[in-house]
Symmetry: C2
Subunit: 160 residues, 2 copies
DNA sequence: TATTGTTATACTCTATAACTATA
DNA sequence: TATAGTTATAGAGTATAACAATA
């Protein structure tokens, strides 16, 4: 039934584009990660949110939303989910009764650690064809990319 | 209002993960690409579909869906969109009255060429902080990754 | 029986806009 | 007036399941 293995793949010319390759690899890593962390009650976005809260205690929802490039309104459900799972808590802010200080619970920190370990394991498995040096290089290139892209958001287009 | 520039970013520990960086860069390139090709009546998925049809005349919808890792049912609307835009046509298949032979129109091929040029331009702009050598290396690493990941879909998890 | 394309439906993610309570 | 969080709503994107026509 499948005979595209040896001949040229159907998307040969698309594979010339870095963006296309980037997306394919992203989808692949992401889907593996999703299926491994769902037993922790996490999804990629809630994992990222949890991790940022762990590292930045007493963060507000609005600043968390900014960090995740998500609207405040979308943040509500994500934070709800983490709170209902007992992974974080919304604490009162002494000086400002409008906002919450988000803080991870002990369980939240433990789950975060497990999720990070899973992420690293998934990457070790999926990126096993790369040497350690190549992985380090990738990280370095991405870091440089993100810095330059923040300054140059493709003219002045919307940037999410 | 913003003071995270000099100090450590909120997502510092997530940035240790290649998958996280990959996704951030992907979203960035993608959003720039989306805003630039919408004047051509294309979205990323319809662009990919059009490009594959151009390169593989008389492809069926089912094989196109496989190439894009999309369900046949989702393919219908995408092909509809391209057909209504006059970029492709559904032709009859002599031997099999169940399926269509998808073929790009002249306009479709011209639009495809423009879209490819736009994609390359977006990448040139957004990846300007990388040297040509580094870009070539990225492409090479991705190529190797895709080959190895197809063989090793993270155990036997679903793979889309 | 299996396959192609289709439809109907539902689910996830996220955006927009309007609201409230604070500041 | 501006901000934090919330709600209601809608849109994109894609999945699942069932169906008709054809193989």
């Amino acid at each position: 039934m499948k005979q595209e293995a040896q001949s040229k793949p159907l998307d040969a010319s698309l594979r010339q584009l870095i963006g296309y390759n980037l997306r394919r690899v992203d989808l692949c890593i992401r889907s593996a990660f999703v299926s491994r962390i769902e037993s922790l009650g996490l999804k990629p976005t809630s994992f990222s949110a949890l991790s940022i809260i762990c590292d930045n205690p007493d963060l507000s929802q609005s600043r968390l939303a900014e960090a995740l490039s998500v609207k405040r309104s979308a943040m509500v459900l994500i934070v709800d989910e983490l709170e209902h799972g007992g992974l974080i808590a919304r604490h009162a802010v002494p000086g400002d009764r409008r906002s919450y200080a988000l803080r991870a619970t002990l369980k939240g920190m433990q789950v975060r650690d497990k999720a990070i370990a899973i992420a690293e394991q998934v990457e070790n498995e999926l990126l096993q064809s790369l040497t350690g040096q190549e992985k380090a290089l990738l990280t370095q290139l991405f870091t440089r990319l993100e810095q330059s892209m923040i300054k140059t958001p493709a003219k002045k287009e919307k940037f999410k």
